[in-house]
């Protein structure tokens, strides 16, 4: 190959010029990809990147507890620190840099207006314990967000304070437990479908419930008959609640959800709905119309607060009339023109407190900004496009990948299994790693657990047809290569990344969880 100047762009194999074409460099850097040591290897206890005024001289009041040994912290000057963290950032895949179809995670665009609003001093620089009279705008914001979330879900009441989705589950299930206790009902079984997020059974178990599994039907949904059978198993009237995700983790709408709700209610139990997939139905379907009693909303999914490398999340819980009285403190109370925050349980039926202070205010600001930007029409359009995109991917890949529950309309994510790859020597994991080399973040893999080699693809509404088409083309090409016997390529992947496949077994066997000066 010659370039425009007529020079060879790559040395011929075996030629003298080829000595250093392995990709190795003297520095360890590779062009724009910088290898970056740990801050402890470049910093020092003597360095700092912060200038502070000198402390006035006083007799200390530390009561003899003054520190007498080094902590072991390492510092960097500001330019060194900026470079260190910028280089680290460049080793991350992100929504802003590419397609991130991670099923069940709703990796949608994070509008920067949300960030700007959260940093207004009147939101970002107010203290949870300053007099409530000095923060009326904060309470008003919480009320506005609550109002939107209640109207979008068609529910009676809301608990804003849970810190993440799993914390919201805990909140909802605590409300259910409190309601049962108040009624003197000793129910101790929670029904959980096999396809549920792991947080569902973990939450139920944390509260001392026995978890009883409900199988899904051939079409991937939970049938009312299966719930009825599970309720009758081992003695019947002891079911406290069912925890059902809708749309479910297979990307399907639970068609018999109302019948299931009626059945559970008829027996005196409660219906917890995992709202992780609310982005599929927001502005279209009201969970309250389906008979649910409690549901958490992941503000970091449906309402675009940034995922931030794994948090912080925010998981407000909407509650039915039957559970409203048991919501945790703090909660808002309006008396005419006066809005106040109830911070103590005295004189209420509240089950208690889930966290110090008032929850994830920074996330409320971002979520409300997102909601106002969209309006009901924009939210409706967003869920529509999310579902459209998932079904388009389904239509374009269904001849090369197997849909475990048959060819049916999906919601905002589409599920395939690895059966069509059988005999190729290529697994779901291998396909995911090859996608990384192609510049895509892989879909969620091996979840839900009920499907062998699951691939759960959630494109979200943020992607253009051009991006989605490119992803589809790449998926089809890779699947063809798998069938053509190119398994070695897949097993080697990824090769264009800062690190190649990592030894996770070794990491768990002998955990190294921190840097040590001796290492």
């Amino acid at each position: 190959m010659l370039n425009r100047q007529g020079r060879k762009t790559r040395p011929e194999a075996g030629s003298e010029d080829n000595n250093n074409m392995t990709g190795e460099t003297h520095s360890g850097h590779k062009g724009l990809q910088m290898d970056e040591p740990l801050l402890f290897e470049i910093g020092s206890p003597a360095k700092t990147g912060v200038d502070l005024p000198d402390a006035p001289t006083v007799d200390d009041k530390l009561g003899g507890l003054a520190r007498d040994e080094e902590i072991g912290l390492y510092g960097l000057s500001e330019p060194e620190a900026v470079r260190h963290f910028v280089r680290l950032s460049q080793k991350n895949y992100a929504i802003d840099s590419g397609f991130y179809p991670l099923g069940s995670c709703t990796m949608k665009h994070n509008p920067r207006l949300n960030e700007k609003m959260a940093r207004l001093a009147g939101f970002g620089d107010i203290h949870p314990l300053q007099p409530l009279s000095s923060v009326p705008g904060a309470l008003k914001l919480m009320e506005e967000l609550s109002d939107w979330l209640l109207k979008l879900t068609g529910m009676a009441s809301i608990a804003l304070s849970p810190k993440a989705g799993a914390h919201g589950e805990l909140c909802g299930m605590m409300a259910i437990k409190a309601a049962l206790d108040a009624a003197g009902s000793p129910r101790d079984v929670v029904l959980v479908p096999e396809s549920a997020h792991g947080t569902n059974p973990a939450t139920a178990a944390l509260l001392g419930f026995k978890v009883r599994s409900v199988p899904a039907d051939k079409d991937g949904t939970v049938r009312v008959d299966a719930v009825r059978a599970a309720m009758k198993a081992e003695g019947g009237g002891d079911v406290a609640a069912i925890m059902l995700t809708n749309p479910n983790t297979c990307g399907l709408f639970e068609r018999e959800i109302k019948e299931i709700a009626d059945l559970i209610h008829g027996s005196g139990g409660y219906f917890y709905c995992d709202g992780a997939n609310f982005n599929a139905i927001v502005g279209r379907v009201r969970p309250g119309d389906l008979g649910i009693d409690a549901m958490h909303l992941n503000l970091h999914k449906t309402f675009s607060t940034p995922h931030g490398g794994g948090g912080p999340g925010s998981g407000p819980v909407v509650l039915s009339d039957r559970l409203a009285a048991f919501a945790p403190v703090p909660f808002l109370r309006r008396d005419g023109d006066t809005l106040t925050l109830v911070e103590e349980t005295d004189g209420t039926q509240s089950f208690g407190r889930l966290t110090a202070f008032h929850g994830q205010m920074g996330m409320y600001v971002r979520a409300l900004t997102y909601i106002l930007s969209h309006g009901i029409d924009g939210l409706n359009a967003a869920s529509g496009d999310a579902v459209l995109n998932a079904n388009y991917i389904r239509a374009k890949l269904k001849d090369v990948l197997n849909q475990p529950f048959g060819d049916q309309a999906s919601m905002h994510e589409v599920l395939f299994d690895e059966s069509s790859l059988s005999g190729t020597g290529v697994t779901t994991l291998d396909l995911a790693k090859a996608l990384i080399d192609e510049g895509f973040h892989p879909m969620t893999i091996y979840f839900p657990l009920v499907v062998k080699g699951a691939m759960l693809i959630e494109p979200t509404e943020s992607e253009s047809i051009e991006t989605i088409d490119q992803f589809i083309d790449v998926m089809r090409s890779l699947i063809s290569e798998a069938h053509e016997g190119q398994e070695d390529k897949f097993h080697a992947a990824p090769i264009h990344t800062p690190r190649r496949r990592l030894d996770e077994t070794g990491a768990a066997r002998k955990p190294i969880l921190r840097w040590n000066a001796e290492n």
Binding site: G49, V58, L73, F85, P312, E344, F357, H358, I376, E504
Partner: protein, 450 residues
């Protein structure tokens, strides 16, 4: 709609490929019962400019901490955060990535988590730390459950001077999970003898230092007492800047140390998002809740990082998991790590000295006011004043009317107790100026004479 890339044409092309007439038809086919848009009775979308105007109007009704004299603490502190911290955490690759499920393209997040864990372990004086929990209070609840698993006992003793909202979190979790909690005695400015509350059933003793009134505690004795009875000492720190000046809880014998990390790198945000820190002994690692990052090697033998020990976690263990926690406080950890890196040992030491010296100065000035008694002998950057015969909530309201946010009145934290109504808890950080001192001293004198 500015956030949606599709056009009428692209939607039509996609519907044709799917073989349906409309998006609504997909919902019908999927069995999802839609309602009409008008039935929501909610407003339509707004331009960026209109949203900004609406939000700014709400924000303008709130008195920002930085807008005047400010002395409010009790678990959240106003510290100066260097500009580079907020700039760096807003880099797209940090802000818009998720849990590092694919480590090959997440080494940035994983490496800073490894650095974070190293800093947290050193700061709290533990051997290891996790990759953070939601906040200090939920971390405290998780630590108690962890102690129950380790000791196979079910009773926690909570010091009376533990932040009452932390206590409430532990009690709610314990009530709901069938565990027992024994309350200590609220002892403003003093040190309670907890040894009599510990028995053979006690799983853990939870002690906060500096405590809710600001008093520093030597944990050495209570650690020995608890451990002699087979219980664990859980130390709680809500102001981690103190650890630049005082001995770490780990060095005083605590088995599990939980802390609120907000003070480093994170704003007040009306209570969240914050980050919970948890450090402990290496031998307890398999009962530790939350995500943890570990070092390993890649296929080429290069050092790299992965999330590890996930066999403790809910997505593998389901109902047998150590905790139901799924996320950590990723971006808040990053802010903590960057700020702590900028500070370094040298900067943190100086910052904590500055906080302490200012607090000592102000405490002396305030204690000279007639009708004011300083309750603490030993404190870091927060102390408690007794306002003889006065309701501190009324006094703070009067001062707030003059734009001075004086601190937290006892009645805000314990509305049901009469014996703390005359207490005012005052926090002093490096952000407080001499003019703020003067304003508070003058304002308090005036309020007490009224």
């Amino acid at each position: 709609m500015r956030y949606l890339p599709h056009t009428k044409q692209s939607r039509e092309a996609m519907l044709e490929a799917i073989g349906v007439s409309s998006i609504d038809q997909i919902f019908k086919d999927a069995g999802a019962p839609q309602i009409a848009l008008d039935d929501f009775a909610l407003p339509k979308h707004l331009s960026e400019m209109e949203v900004e105007r609406h939000m700014a109007a709400l924000a303008a009704q709130n008195r920002a901490a930085g807008a005047g004299p400010f002395f409010v603490g009790c678990g959240a502190y106003k510290h100066h955060v260097p500009a580079s911290v907020d700039h760096l955490i807003q880099r797209s690759e940090f802000l818009t990535s998720y849990t590092p499920y694919q480590p090959e393209i997440s080494q940035g997040t994983l490496q800073y988590l490894f650095e974070f864990q190293t800093q947290v372990a050193a700061l709290l004086g533990g051997e290891i730390a996790n990759a953070s929990l939601y906040d200090g209070s939920t971390g405290c609840g998780e630590a108690v459950l962890m102690a129950h698993r380790l000791t196979r006992r079910k009773k926690a003793v909570l010091a009376g001077n533990l932040h009452p909202q932390y206590g409430a979190v532990v009690k709610t979790l314990s009530d709901m999970s069938g565990f027992e909690v024994v309350d200590g005695t609220v002892t403003p400015g003093g040190v309670e003898d907890l040894s009599t509350l510990i028995d053979d059933e006690t799983s853990c003793v939870v002690v906060q230092t500096p405590d809710i009134f600001g008093t520093l505690h030597d944990l050495t004795k209570i650690a020995e007492t608890a451990q002699a009875k087979g219980a664990l000492l859980i130390a709680v720190v809500t102001e981690v800047v103190s650890l630049g000046a005082v001995k770490s809880p780990g060095s005083m014998g605590a088995d599990i140390i939980v802390a609120e990390g907000q003070s480093i790198g994170n704003g007040l945000n009306f209570g969240g998002p914050y980050l919970g820190l948890l450090a402990t002994r290496h031998k307890f690692v398999r009962q530790m809740p939350g995500r943890v990052c570990g070092e390993t090697v890649d296929a080429d033998g290069e050092r790299g990082y992965v999330l590890t020990l996930s066999t403790r976690e809910q997505h593998i263990r389901r109902e047998k998991a150590t905790s139901n926690i799924c996320t950590n406080s990723g971006l808040c950890c990053l802010a903590f790590t960057i700020h702590m890196t900028l500070l370094g040992e040298k900067g943190l030491t100086k910052l904590s000295r500055l906080n302490h010296a200012k607090a000592v100065q102000l405490s002396q000035q305030l204690a000279e006011i007639e009708g004011v008694t300083l309750l603490n002998d030993q404190f870091f950057n927060e102390f408690t004043l007794k306002l003889e015969g006065r309701d501190a909530a009324e006094v703070t309201a009067q001062l707030a009317a003059k734009d001075i946010l004086a601190g937290v009145p006892g009645g805000r934290l314990w509305p049901e107790r009469d014996d703390v109504k005359d207490l005012l808890i005052v926090a002093v950080t490096e952000t407080v100026t001499d003019a703020d001192f003067d304003a508070l001293v003058a304002g308090l004198k005036e309020a007490l004479n009224a």
